[in-house]
Symmetry: C2
DNA sequence: TTGTCAGGCAAGTGCTCACTTGCCTATGGT
DNA sequence: ACCATAGGCAAGTGAGCACTTGCCTGACAA
């Protein structure tokens, strides 16, 4: 599993996580259009696709294929590595 | 306040936070020697100094000056922006 | 089969970032 | 005064990363 911290370092990837939290299980094209219309993003399809690859490597996004569609689901469990590491006062 | 996510993206900066958690209020030179001896780091003084600047901008490290010494203290409150953003199941 | 749609792969480009290098300021000891 | 210590500033370098460009694969509809 790749680097969770590095995956979170990019604002576009954080916007993707925001989007998936609002509406889980989106395809690449859904994400592209909604990122532009709701998050003011200017990223191309290829750019978003590469970001999704990074997020998937980090374990923050899980994917499932159905026919020619690929759905993306948010998984926040890797974020625990951050909070567990520096012992947040329980919030 | 700078980017907390970007500050966490670098492994050396995460080691610095680890080191400050073990022993708070260290000076730059203390951190340098302990990073090498206890974390296998190879970073120079200037490198660590720049990392501390990034961490301070992100609000993860607070500093206080006394004479020619500058002490560094860990502050984990900015990490809440991460957990609050994607609603972790309370752990 | 032909055409379209969803997505993937890979090389190239430009910018950011970590780190070095070299010099400078300031505090404290003798 | 002198020197060592603790730290800072700024330009330059090299590697990594986000993004583009162009082409390719696979699934569905007609």
């Amino acid at each position: 599993m790749g680097d969770v911290f590095k995956a979170l370092a990019d604002p576009t990837r954080r916007a993707i996580l925001d989007e998936l939290q609002e509406r889980n299980g989106q395809t690449l094209f859904e994400l592209c259009t909604r990122l532009i219309s709701q998050h003011g993003s200017t990223s191309s399809r290829q750019a978003v696709s590469q970001h999704l690859g990074v997020l998937e490597d980090a374990g923050l996004v899980r994917t499932r294929r159905e026919g020619r569609y690929k759905f993306h689901d948010l998984d926040t469990t890797p974020l625990r590595t951050i909070t567990d590491r520096w012992q947040l006062p329980t919030g």
